[in-house]
Symmetry: C2
Subunit: 232 residues, 2 copies
């Protein structure tokens, strides 16, 4: 479920017209977008520690890559776990993503949280303070997490060239407008997560993807809040 910004969005056309009018076309002053803007929907998933992989899948077990993700070196594993919440309802097949991390983490959409009976806090990945736990069930064992169940805050991965192009820094918040028939939406508070080696990529969750109809979107626009104070 990927939406790549159209080559000819309204914003692009406007930029070209502006460039022509100001005689800046092909000028070196006008930076070109260095990387394509990719928006991906993160379906619910689990990150595990090496230790938890062994508890859940057996002594000596490691994750088996099934599908490469857009970011190099990351993958959806063959392994899935059941996530059990306090209402003793469960999501039976939640995909594990690799490679392993220092702390296990469960990323769900609010729709999942409602079904499990977990009140999900919105957090940047890795921020587990005051987060609820859950029970993970695998074919070889059970792990009880005391924390680490979150709704991942919508975010954009950016490398140095992207940060320069958009004029933002790590931790800044941006706006993503998704233009779609009858349900155009601006997702604010899209947090910038900067890294040297990462590819430009926006992650939103399934609730957000469905609310904005990402699959049928005509264009997407990422922007720095202009600060004009309007709610347009």
């Amino acid at each position: 479920m990927t939406q790549i910004a159209s080559q000819f969005s309204r914003a692009d056309v406007e930029r070209v017209v502006r460039d022509v009018l100001t005689g800046k076309l092909n000028s070196r002053d006008q930076p070109r977008q260095p990387n394509p803007l990719v928006v991906n929907i993160s379906a619910r998933h689990v990150h595990l520690t090496d230790e938890h992989v062994e508890v859940l899948f057996g002594q000596g077990a490691t994750l088996t890559p099934e599908r490469e993700l857009y970011q190099a070196g990351f993958f959806a594993a063959k392994e899935t776990v059941a996530v059990v919440g306090p209402r003793r309802r469960m999501l039976p097949n939640v995909r594990v993503l690799g490679p392993c991390r220092d702390d296990s983490q469960v990323e769900l959409a609010f729709t999942d949280g409602i079904s499990l009976g977990i009140d999900l806090p919105v957090r940047i990945s890795g921020d587990h303070h005051d987060t609820p736990g859950c029970v993970l069930v695998g074919p070889a064992g059970v792990v009880e997490l005391n924390s680490g169940v979150i709704r991942a805050m919508r975010h954009v991965h950016m490398g140095p060239a992207d940060l320069e192009y958009y004029g933002v820094s790590n931790g800044d918040k941006m706006h993503l407008r998704v233009n779609a028939a009858g349900c155009t939406t601006v997702l604010e508070e899209l947090v910038v997560r900067a890294s040297e080696t990462v590819k430009l990529e926006i992650h939103i969750d399934t609730d957000e993807g469905n609310a904005v109809d990402l699959d049928n979107a005509t264009s997407v626009e990422l922007s720095k809040p202009c600060g004009c104070g309007c709610t347009d």
Copy 2:
């Protein structure tokens, strides 16, 4: 699942400060919001014709009100139906809303559509051109709908005083900003549905409600697009 705008949202505070500065406080020139702004999430539901109620629930059957809705005269019925899609998957208990209408209609969220295998068009209630159908199963019979399965376009019901206050007309599109920790969102293309007797009420669907975390929102702001062209 109701979110009533806080009495002291940023917009309200700004308006009061502006009023004081311009000496307009308590002036008759400055209209007060005539009605409270209520945002409700419409969960998936079905509207039926009198004829379909009889097919599904038995000859002579009528809907039994179980719970009054916010709009006077409308109700959630005791009756539910199963909605079956082309993948032969079904939603087993979809609530029927009353009173009956001239055409049956099924209103689902995209999440429901994906699960059923139905590609939902976004439509204003009652607009059934080029819409998919489905099968409804009740305790006494089955109805095959050839059309009428939609994702309801996000909308705001307004009476004459609300239209005047916001400066909009039937069919106009407005913006709803929902301020919520970590996931503030502007839902654009919120269509105005004007009626003489209706109460001011915004309807969004469950995907939208979950995407914006309506249950934990700190404030909501309804506004006419200012047209400044920014994406803020």
